[in-house]
C-alpha cells in the first residue's frame, strides 16, 4: 500500500516537473527563468547528496603538455568502468559523467584543441572543465562530486587520476581491454567513408600514420603490397616530405582535423602507425591495428594480440617484417582464404 502510494506520488511529481519544463520552454524570460534556476539547483543538490553524480579529475601533474592520447585512454578507462556498472552495478545507473582537467599554468604546447576534440568524442560526457589554477578547481569540485566520498578503488574515486605518460603495465592493460568506442561527428565519418570509397574502391585499404623515425616504411610496404591502397594521414607537422608511391594517397595538405583523421583510421581495413589518438580510434573500432612507438620508453618487446600488434621500439630492425606479416595475415582472413 505504502509502495503504491510512493509510486503514484513519484509519478505525479514527475508529471508536474515535466509540465514545468514544458512551460519553461515557452517562457524563457525573467522571472520564470529564475524559478527554473532555483528549482534545478535544488534538484542538483539532492543529486549530489544521493551521491549518484560521477565526476573524475585528471591531473597533468605539472607536465607542460597534456597528451591527447593519455586523455583518450583515460576516457576509455572510465567508460569501461561505467559499462561494468551498467552490467552489474547498483541502481541508479550512471548514464553520464563530468571530467575536470588540471593543466599546468605554464602550458606551452599547442595541443589543447586536440585534448578538447578527444573529450568531445565521449557521448556520455556531460561536462568538461579545464583548470589552470588549483583554487578554481577546488571551488568547483563540491558542485560536481559528492562530499566526503572516497571510494578509491572504484569509478567513484574522488582521488585525482594521474594523466602523465602511462607506464608499460597501463599500456598493456589498455591493449587488452574491451574498449567502449568513440562517437565521432557524423560529418567526419561520412567524409571518411566517401573518401575511402572513392579512392580505394574495392581494394584493401590501409591507414598509415607512421612516426618520423619509420617514414621510410611507407615506401617499402607500398612497393611490396601493390594490391593495397594506402591512406597516409600523417599531418606532417614535423615537416618531413610525404611518401610518394602510386598506391599511397597522402592526405597531407588535405587539412584534416583530428576527428577527420580518426574517422579515416576507423574506416580503412587496417591501421599501421603511431600509438596516438588515430591509432586508438582504429583499435576502438575493432580494426586490425599495428601501433608503433609510444607507450613506455624502456620497453621494446613487441606485444601481440588477436587484432592488435604493438611495436614499442620504432628502431627495431624487425619492424618491416612484422608489419608485412601482420598485413598478410589479416588480408588473408578478410578474403576468407585462411
Amino acid at each position: 500500500m505504502r509502495d503504491d502510494f510512493a509510486k503514484v506520488l513519484r509519478r505525479w511529481l514527475f508529471a508536474l516537473l515535466s509540465f514545468g519544463l514544458r512551460v519553461y520552454r515557452r517562457l524563457r524570460f525573467f522571472p520564470f527563468t529564475l524559478c527554473y534556476v532555483l528549482l534545478l539547483s535544488a534538484l542538483r543538490i539532492v543529486e549530489l547528496r544521493r551521491k549518484n553524480r560521477l565526476a573524475r579529475v585528471g591531473d597533468g601533474n605539472g607536465v607542460a603538455s597534456l597528451s591527447p592520447l593519455r586523455v583518450m585512454m583515460w576516457l576509455d578507462e572510465i567508460g569501461r568502468e561505467l559499462k561494468m556498472l551498467d552490467d552489474i552495478g547498483p541502481e541508479p545507473r550512471v548514464r553520464r559523467f563530468d571530467v575536470c582537467l588540471k593543466l599546468s599554468p605554464d602550458a606551452a604546447d599547442a595541443n589543447l584543441h586536440d585534448v578538447f576534440s578527444v573529450l568531445l568524442t565521449s557521448s556520455r560526457l556531460r561536462s568538461m572543465g579545464f583548470y589552470w589554477d588549483e583554487s578554481a578547481l577546488r571551488e568547483d569540485l563540491p558542485l560536481l562530486q559528492a562530499a566526503g566520498d572516497r571510494r578509491t578503488d572504484t569509478v567513484w574515486s574522488t582521488l585525482r587520476d594521474d594523466l602523465r605518460r602511462p607506464g608499460l603495465e597501463a599500456c598493456r592493460a589498455f591493449l587488452d581491454a574491451d574498449h567502449q568506442g568513440v562517437a565521432l561527428p557524423v560529418a567526419a565519418s561520412r567524409d571518411a567513408h566517401t573518401l575511402v570509397k572513392r579512392q580505394g574502391g574495392a581494394a584493401y585499404a590501409v591507414c598509415l600514420n607512421l612516426p618520423e623515425e619509420v617514414r621510410w616504411l611507407a615506401g617499402e610496404i607500398a612497393a611490396t603490397r601493390s594490391d593495397v591502397k594506402f591512406f597516409d594521414i600523417d599531418p606532417m607537422l614535423s615537416g618531413s616530405p610525404p611518401a610518394v608511391a602510386a598506391n599511397v594517397l597522402s592526405l597531407y595538405a588535405y587539412g584534416l582535423n583530428l576527428h577527420e583523421r580518426m574517422a579515416v583510421a576507423q574506416t580503412t581495413d587496417v591501421y599501421v602507425g603511431r600509438f596516438d589518438e588515430a591509432g586508438c580510434a582504429a583499435l576502438f573500432a575493432g580494426r586490425p591495428t599495428v601501433l608503433i612507438g609510444g607507450g613506455a620508453a624502456a620497453y621494446s618487446e613487441p606485444l601481440s594480440r588477436a587484432t592488435a600488434l604493438w611495436l614499442p621500439d620504432p628502431s627495431s630492425p624487425a619492424i618491416r617484417t612484422a608489419v608485412l606479416e601482420f598485413l598478410r595475415r589479416h588480408m588473408v582472413a578478410a578474403a576468407g582464404i585462411g
Binding site: 524563457r28 524570460f29 525573467f30 522571472p31 527563468t33 529564475l34 527554473y36 534556476v37 532555483l38 534545478l40 539547483s41 534538484l43 542538483r44 543538490i45 603538455s65 553520464r96 563530468d98 602550458a107 606551452a108 604546447d109 599547442a110 595541443n111 589543447l112 584543441h113 578538447f116 576534440s117 568531445l120 560526457l125 556531460r126 561536462s127 568538461m128 572543465g129 579545464f130 583548470y131 589552470w132 589554477d133 578554481a136 578547481l137 568547483d140 558542485l143 561527428p185 557524423v186 560529418a187 567526419a188 599531418p235 606532417m236 607537422l237 615537416g239 597531407y252 595538405a253 588535405y254 587539412g255 584534416l256 582535423n257 576527428h259
Partner: protein, 319 residues
C-alpha cells in the same frame, strides 16, 4: 569575472566569440580582477538559437570543435568549462550570483537570454575612460608555437595575415553578400610578390575557403594546408606584422589584439554598433595603422593600403 556563453541564444561565430571575450576582459579590468572563469553551455537536444537553424544535434560537435580555440584568448583565463547539460549549469550560476561576482552577460541579461555580442559599447566606454584596452592574446599555449612558426617558415620576413571572407565556399554558407571578391585579393598578393619580395602572406580560414591558385604564388603560406587549425591561426594573427582581410571573425581577432590591420567591406549596418560613421577610417580605439574600409575592395585599393601601412611600420621599425 564570470563569462557565460550560452549557445541557446549566443551564436556559433568566431567574431562574436572574440567580441564576447573582449567584453569579458573589459569587465574584468573594470572590476579590478585578474581571473576569468568561462562557461560554455550547450543543450545537445537544441544546440543553437533560432537564428542558426543549421546547427543541430548531429553537427554541433563539429561546429563547437572548430570554434573552441576562440575561447582561449583571454590572458586572465583561469578555467573554462563546457557544459552539455544546461540544468547542471544552474548550480554554478546560482553560486556565482550569490557570491556577486561580476558577470558577462549580467545575470539579468542571461535570465532573459540576451547578449550584446556585436557592439563595442562597453569597449569604447572603457577606452574613453582609461585610455587603454585589455587586449586579447594568442590562444592559451599557442603563442610560443606561433613564434616558432615565424622563425621556421617566415625567416625574418614581413608577415601579413590574410583572411578573405568566402562564405559561399564554407561548409555552412550564410550571408553571402558579405563575401569579398577573391580575384582582387589574389591579384593583390601576386602584385605584392613582385614589388615586395620580402613579404610573406599567411592565408587563414577554413580549408574549403581559399582558391587552389594560391598554391602557385611564391609568397603565400596556408597554415590549414600544413595541418594546423584555428588555434594556430589566431596565434599567427596575434604575432603577425599586419592583418588584412574582410570584416569577419579573423578581423575581430586583429581588432582586439592590437596588431596593425586593414579591414575591408565593413557592413554599413555595423556603424551603429561600433559608433563610427560609415566611411570612418578608424575604430574609436584604433591608431593610424588600424584602418577600416567600408566599400568592396579592389586590388589597387589593397595595394595602396598595404604599401601605406608597410612603409610606416618599416620606418618605425628602422627608426
Amino acid at each position: 569575472m564570470i563569462g557565460v556563453y550560452d549557445f541557446s541564444y549566443a551564436p556559433y561565430a568566431l567574431g562574436d566569440a572574440l567580441t564576447w571575450t573582449m567584453n569579458l576582459n573589459v569587465g574584468a579590468a573594470e572590476a579590478g580582477v585578474d581571473a576569468v572563469d568561462q562557461y560554455l553551455v550547450i543543450d545537445p537536444g537544441r544546440p543553437s538559437s533560432p537564428f542558426q537553424p543549421f546547427v543541430d544535434t548531429h553537427n554541433y560537435v563539429s561546429i563547437i570543435d572548430d570554434l573552441f580555440p576562440a575561447f582561449l584568448c583571454s590572458p586572465w583565463l583561469r578555467s573554462l568549462k563546457l557544459i552539455r547539460h544546461p540544468p547542471s549549469f544552474n548550480l554554478f550560476l546560482l553560486r556565482e550570483a550569490v557570491r556577486r561576482r561580476p558577470m558577462w552577460p549580467s545575470l539579468f541579461s542571461h535570465l532573459n537570454r540576451k547578449l550584446d555580442f556585436i557592439s563595442h559599447r562597453r569597449i569604447d566606454a572603457f577606452y574613453a575612460k582609461h585610455g587603454y584596452l585589455p587586449w586579447l592574446t594568442a590562444p592559451r599555449g599557442y603563442g610560443a608555437w606561433a613564434d616558432a612558426f615565424r622563425r621556421k617558415h617566415c625567416d625574418g620576413r614581413f608577415v601579413v595575415a590574410i583572411n578573405v571572407r568566402q562564405g559561399a565556399l564554407s561548409l555552412r554558407p550564410a550571408n553571402l553578400y558579405r563575401d569579398s571578391p577573391w580575384p582582387e585579393w589574389q591579384a593583390f598578393m601576386a602584385r605584392a610578390a613582385t614589388r615586395h619580395p620580402e613579404v610573406v602572406f599567411l592565408v587563414l580560414g577554413g580549408y574549403t575557403e581559399w582558391d587552389r591558385a594560391l598554391c602557385r604564388l611564391p609568397n603565400v603560406l596556408i597554415p590549414r594546408a600544413m595541418g594546423f587549425g584555428l588555434g594556430h591561426e589566431l596565434a599567427l594573427v596575434q604575432r603577425a606584422d599586419l592583418f588584412m582581410g574582410s570584416s569577419s571573425g579573423f578581423a575581430a581577432m586583429a581588432t582586439f589584439c592590437n596588431v596593425p590591420y586593414v579591414i575591408t567591406k565593413i557592413q554599413h549596418l555595423f556603424a551603429q554598433y561600433i559608433d563610427v560613421p560609415v566611411g570612418g577610417r578608424h575604430y574609436r580605439f584604433g591608431n593610424e595603422n588600424q584602418i577600416l574600409y567600408w566599400d568592396t575592395e579592389t586590388q589597387d585599393v589593397l595595394l595602396d593600403f598595404f604599401e601605406e601601412v608597410h612603409e610606416r611600420l618599416r620606418a618605425k621599425g628602422g627608426s
